[in-house]
């Protein structure tokens, strides 16, 4: 390890400028507006589902949360490979930021899913649903990734260990997927919107649905950006602390 904080070296000389930069910026404000617009549209201007009633509107936060979670976790996996290859701290920091945001989106997906399932399926939790089980284990893996990071002081070791874990987890997912698939009957409703020939969703609902994807992807990126900036600040702080101790 040559330069421990390569990505931040220029700012390190003048931490004041970077510290003054807020972690929530115009892009985050834009994301908040997008989500509020989506909420208003989903709750007030979209008709309820004929069978499920109003609970179907949970879809607009639930499925978008999955999309956000998988986007964020995909970024973590990709950045882990980049980190093992190039040893660039920025990749490590982006991977960490995405993992944490991914965990938030997974939590939203799981909680809104159980609220929906308890009336529509008649049970808070069902083990026969493949996606539910798979996502639960994904939650545990992402949580383990973050706990592992929290347990290591040395930045280089923290980056390598967590990247190794993320790459192995990427290999693990197909295995969990396959074994849960064999284990469970397939009773989960298939994604309605993406099935040609079965347009069960009205045009208004489809627009809201696709709009929810856009709004929450923007929120996902905004949160990752904010978390990334927090990571930069934290690295400056730990460098400053080490510097202070050395004096």
């Amino acid at each position: 390890m040559t330069a421990p904080f390569r990505g931040t070296t220029p700012q390190q000389r003048d931490p004041q400028a970077l510290v003054a930069k807020p972690i929530f910026d115009w892009f985050f404000a834009f994301a908040v507006v997008a989500v509020i617009v989506l909420y208003v549209r989903a709750l007030a201007f979209t008709p309820p589902d004929a069978l499920q009633g109003l609970a179907q509107k949970i879809y607009y936060v639930h499925i978008a949360a999955w999309l956000g979670a998988y986007t964020a976790i995909g970024i973590t996996a990709l950045m882990s490979i980049v980190y093992l290859w190039l040893h660039d701290e920025r990749a490590d920091r982006l991977g960490e930021a995405s993992a944490e945001v991914g965990l938030v989106f997974l939590t939203v997906g799981l909680t809104t899913g159980t609220i929906w399932a308890h009336r529509i399926w008649g049970a808070w939790w069902v083990w026969w649903d493949m996606r539910l089980t798979l996502t639960l284990f994904l939650w545990f893996i992402v949580a383990a990734y973050l706990v592992l990071r929290g347990g290591i002081e040395d930045p280089g070791m923290r980056g390598r260990y967590s990247a190794v874990l993320a790459v192995l987890a990427a290999l693990l997912i197909p295995f969990i997927h396959l074994s849960v698939y064999l284990f469970s009957a397939r009773l989960h409703p298939m994604p309605v919107a993406l099935q040609p020939g079965r347009p069960k969703m009205s045009p208004e609902m489809l627009t809201t649905f696709l709009g929810s994807f856009v709004a929450f992807i923007i929120l996902c990126i905004a949160l990752i950006r904010a978390r990334y900036r927090l990571g930069v600040l934290r690295d400056i702080a730990s460098a400053a602390e080490i510097d202070g101790d050395a004096r």
Binding site: I23, G53, I115
Partner: protein
């Protein structure tokens, strides 16, 4: 059509609370880390002006 109004409200409230909770946690952590950096910078500039303030 079954009445699932309560579920809808619960779903949106839970999702919103989790997102807002995360944003608040980010904000609090950023504030704390910023405090650490600024106090370190203050100590440094103080010790540069007056070497007797140096610790250790």
């Amino acid at each position: 059509m079954i009445d699932t109004h309560a579920e809808m409200v619960a779903g949106y409230v839970v999702a919103t609370v989790i997102y807002i909770g995360y944003v608040v946690s980010l904000w609090l952590r950023a504030r704390r880390v910023r405090g650490v950096i600024l106090s370190a910078a203050k100590n440094r500039s103080a010790s540069e002006r007056d070497p007797s303030l140096r610790s250790g």
